[in-house]
Every structure is written in structure tokens, then in C-alpha cells.
């Protein structure tokens, strides 16, 4: 569904990604793992159009996404749940979800999608009138996921959904992502929590200093000697 070919990108004179090639098929869950500063967030920003690329190509279902303005990517079916959740803190849960359904195609289905998100995350229904900034960390992550789902994306990008959460909540968040997967969404997830991530996804890419160092199925990577030694302390 999503294909990146030799994508390079950066900020000013600093190049963050070097000729990345990556593929996500429909219905698949794929993880991008790697240390801090490897370019994982940059990669997601490139895929959701927040950062223009220097060279290479990005296509979604065969359609090129190059040159599209950033705010059009969600209409193409790419929803990006950003790092640190980035909810609108002084707006209610429901208004946050409303922003997730801003694009015209989603607006038309707002009421049913809202019901669907509330059914997926019943806690959000209880908190619907509460300001998002006053939610607990786990609830905020639910709200951020719900907001990203309101547009019913073809591809859901998740940037470190477990970051900054207590260990108990980390497990909960991975559970939430599992629920989203079970709904049939295609997910590309960036995680530092490598072991957890590999339990969740079908395939993964290991990024190091802006390059794909390793890739393979979750099972292969779990048994990869290099990965185990360098990143899992095994």
C-alpha cells in the first residue's frame, strides 16, 4: 500500500534520512525501531507530508504523494498520531475527536465514527466533556488514537505511543494498538520499546543514523543476534 523508494530528507543542511526504502502492505502492522536520533520521527513526518523530501519517491496505493501540501495527506488516507500525543489541551475530548474528523469525507460520518471510537475506547465516552489537558496519560493516548482514527485512515502512523507512560500504561497502550489492528487498520508504528513492538507487528525495520540497518519479519528480528545484543541486552 505504502511504498518508499530511496527517500532522503533532512532539516536545512542536516540530512536525517539516507535513501530509505520501505514497504507497508494493506492490513499489515509494521514497526520502525531504532535508537534515539535514528530518524524514526523524521521518517513518519516525511510520510505524512510534514517534511518535504530531497529525493526518492513515496506512493500510496500507486499514487505519488510528492508535491502534495501537508494538509492534504490526511485526505489521501494517512493519519499521523504525533509524538507526545499533542492533544489540544484546552479543548474537550469530543472537540479533539471533532478535529480528527475535520476533512469533509470524515465530517459526513462524524456521529457514527464518534460512536465507534467511544465503543472502542469506552473511557473516552465517560470523559467526553472533559478538557483533554486534564486527562491521565493513558487516557490522553486513547484520545490521541481516537482522534487519528476519526478519519478512518488507510494507513495509521503512530509515533511512540508508549513514550512517557508508566510501565503499566505501556502495556495498556500496546493493548489499544492491538484493538486497532483487530479492526483491520494498516499501522506503521515507531517504537523504542523494541521487544514490545516486535510482539505486536508483522514486520519491522531497524533504523540507525538515518539508514535501514536491518529489516525482516518480527519473528526473524526477535532471533537476530545483532539486534538482541545491541538493543535488547540479551
Amino acid at each position: 500500500m505504502l511504498t518508499l523508494r530511496d527517500v532522503s530528507a533532512g532539516y536545512g543542511s542536516f540530512q536525517a534520512l539516507f535513501e530509505i526504502s520501505l514497504e507497508v502492505s494493506a492490513g499489515e502492522a509494521v514497526a520502525v525501531i531504532g535508537p534515539n536520533g535514528a530518524g524514526k520521527t523524521t521518517l513518519l513526518r516525511v510520510i505524512s507530508g510534514q517534511l518535504p523530501i530531497l529525493s526518492g519517491s513515496i506512493t500510496l496505493q500507486g499514487r505519488s504523494l510528492l508535491g502534495l501540501p501537508a494538509h492534504r495527506f490526511i485526505e489521501e488516507g494517512i493519519a499521523h498520531c504525533p509524538e507526545n500525543r499533542r492533544l489540544f489541551p484546552r479543548m474537550t475530548v469530543e472537540d479533539n475527536l471533532r478535529m480528527g474528523a475535520f476533512i469533509p469525507t470524515a465530517r459526513r460520518h462524524f456521529a457514527e465514527r464518534l460512536d465507534w471510537v467511544y465503543a472502542l475506547f469506552p473511557r473516552l465516552r465517560e470523559r467526553r466533556g472533559q478538557l483533554a489537558g486534564t486527562l491521565s496519560g493513558g487516557e490522553q493516548q486513547m484520545c490521541a488514537l481516537g482522534r487519528a482514527l476519526m478519519s478512518h485512515p488507510k494507513l495509521l502512523l503512530l509515533d511512540e505511543p508508549s513514550a512517557g507512560l508508566a510501565p503499566v500504561l505501556v502495556m495498556q497502550v500496546f493493548d489499544l494498538v492491538r484493538r486497532i489492528r483487530a479492526e483491520g487498520f494498516t499501522v506503521l508504528i515507531v517504537e523504542q520499546n523494541i521487544q514490545q513492538a516486535l510482539e505486536l507487528v508483522d514486520r519491522a525495520y531497524l533504523l540507525e543514523v538515518g539508514k535501514v540497518k536491518l529489516s525482516g519479519t518480527a519473528g526473524e528480528l526477535k532471533n537476530n543476534q545483532f539486534l538482541r545484543q545491541a538493543y535488547m541486552g540479551l
Partner: protein
């Protein structure tokens, strides 16, 4: 003693009515600042444009007042749009001082332009509005009308900001502009709409002012400073804070005028403002970061 209390009550009521107009004035400026992070120094002069629109259409061309008033809302809304498109937008990524200087330049431009077209004379609609009597209370009808219109305008803005997608997006931009494109929102468009709405609010305020005051090219100086003061006191960009600050200021001015004098009342209001700036520089009704 009974009569005295009626005077005081009348003063307080007048303060509330005046507060409504000030609150409306503050609203447009606050909206634009809260969303775009830009201060329209020429805001009071933009209101003045609306006053001249009404004067010209109603007195010179003989339009019915209602149509002239609607034209003011629309006309100043377009002015707001143009201010953003022509002045603010090209300077959006430059230091804020540039935007201040540019809209400051607009202030002098609009003053001179008004003088060129209409001269420096004081102009008014030549309306004589009745004074209403409730028992022993005397309330000016124009003030009551102004207050009512301000209230309707504010409720309309509130509904727009809370019940529509674009209104929700306007509030969202004020909280986190960088992720708006992830929501599919084109922030440039939101800025233009916000500026038009802010201008429309200024056009509405112009109606209320022109009912009570003569218009002249320097009228902005009479209500501009207090409008800025109210916005800053309520916490710049905080719509509710500005709303409350407007009523606090109007009561100080109204009651101060009753007990001492109008001039001294303004002095008291400005001293209070300075005191607030020392104690709570972020404004009385702090806006969470």
C-alpha cells in the same frame, strides 16, 4: 437617600452597558491575537473605518441604517481579510516587531486616509435616541441597543467557535498550530477566516459606537488604548478574560465618574492596569500555556 441609591444603580447599569461595548471591542482584537499571534495596532482605526462606512452609506447615500450597519460588518470583515493577506501574511515568519510596525503604519495610513476623504470634522448620524425611564431610572436607549447588539454578537461568535468545524479549528490553531496540517487543516485559510471574523467584530463594534459618538479621523485614540488595556488585563488572546476585564474596567470608569470625575476615573483605571501589570503581568485571567 432613596434618590441617591437610584443614581448609583443607574451608574452601575450604565457601567454594565458600557462594558458590553468594550467587551465586544476587545473580542475582535483578542481573537486575532489568540489565533494568529499578531497584534493589530490599528484595530481602533479599523473600527473607525466601519463608523465611516455607516456614516457614508446612511447619511450621504441615504441607505437605511440597518443596511448600512450590515455593510459595516461585511466591509470591515473584508478590511480584516485584506490586513491579513496584504500586511500580516508576508510578515508572519519575521520578528513580531515587524508586524507591530506594519500595523502601526496602517494606523497612520487610515487616519490620513479618513482625513483626506472626510476631513477632520466631527460627523454623526444625526439620530436622536430616546431616553428610557424605568420608575426613577433613566437609561439611554442607544446604550441599551448597543449592549443588546454586543451581546448578540458575542453569542454568535461563541456559537461559531464552538459549534462549527472551522470555529473548532480556529480554537485549535490557538493551542497547537504545528499539528493542524495533520488534521487536514490549512492554517493559512484559518488565519484568513479569523482575520475576516475579527474584522467583522470590529465592524459590529463600529455600529455600536457610531450610535453614541461622533466619528472623526482620530476617534481611535478615544477607545483604542482602553481596548488594548482590557485585552492585556484579561490575558492577551484569552477571550473570556477580556470579556470579564471589560466589565471590571467599565464599572471602575462608571462608578469613578459618579463619585469623582470622568477624567479621574480613567486615571484610576489606568493606575489599576499598571498595578495589574506589576502583580500579574500575564493578565488577571491567566491563560494556561
Amino acid at each position: 437617600m432613596g434618590i441617591f441609591d437610584f443614581y448609583l444603580l443607574e451608574t452601575i447599569i450604565n457601567g454594565v452597558l458600557f462594558g458590553g461595548v468594550l467587551a465586544l471591542l476587545a473580542l475582535g482584537l483578542n481573537l486575532v491575537f489568540g489565533v494568529i499571534d499578531v497584534i493589530w495596532i490599528a484595530y481602533a482605526e479599523i473600527v473607525m473605518v466601519g463608523m465611516y462606512i455607516i456614516y457614508y452609506l446612511n447619511v450621504v447615500l441615504g441607505w437605511p441604517l440597518v443596511f448600512a450597519a450590515l455593510a459595516s460588518i461585511l466591509g470591515v470583515g473584508v478590511v480584516g481579510l485584506l490586513v491579513h493577506a496584504l500586511i500580516i501574511s508576508p510578515l508572519l515568519d519575521t520578528p513580531p516587531i515587524n508586524q507591530l510596525l506594519a500595523t502601526g503604519g496602517l494606523l497612520f495610513f487610515l487616519q490620513s486616509f479618513a482625513t483626506l476623504i472626510f476631513g477632520a470634522e466631527f460627523r454623526n448620524l444625526g439620530l436622536s435616541m430616546p431616553i428610557l425611564q424605568f420608575f426613577e431610572l433613566y437609561i439611554s436607549f442607544s446604550r441599551l441597543l448597543a449592549f443588546g447588539t454586543a451581546l448578540v454578537g458575542m453569542i454568535a461568535l461563541y456559537l461559531f467557535l464552538t459549534r462549527t468545524y472551522i470555529g473548532t479549528a480556529i480554537r485549535a490553531v490557538a493551542q497547537d498550530r504545528e499539528i493542524m496540517s495533520l488534521m487536514g487543516v490549512n492554517t493559512r485559510k484559518v488565519y484568513l477566516i479569523t482575520s475576516a471574523v475579527g474584522g467583522g467584530m470590529a465592524g459590529l463594534a463600529a455600529i455600536l459606537l457610531v450610535l453614541q459618538q461622533d466619528v472623526h479621523p482620530f476617534i481611535g485614540y478615544t477607545f483604542g488604548p482602553i481596548t488594548f488595556m482590557i485585552c492585556v488585563m484579561g490575558g492577551l488572546g484569552n477571550l473570556l478574560g477580556g470579556f470579564l476585564a471589560a466589565f471590571i474596567m467599565s464599572q471602575i470608569i462608571s462608578i469613578g465618574s459618579f463619585y469623582v470625575s470622568t477624567e479621574l476615573a480613567y486615571v484610576i483605571a489606568f493606575i489599576l492596569f499598571i498595578a495589574v501589570m506589576f502583580i500579574r503581568p500575564e493578565g488577571l485571567f491567566q491563560r494556561r500555556a
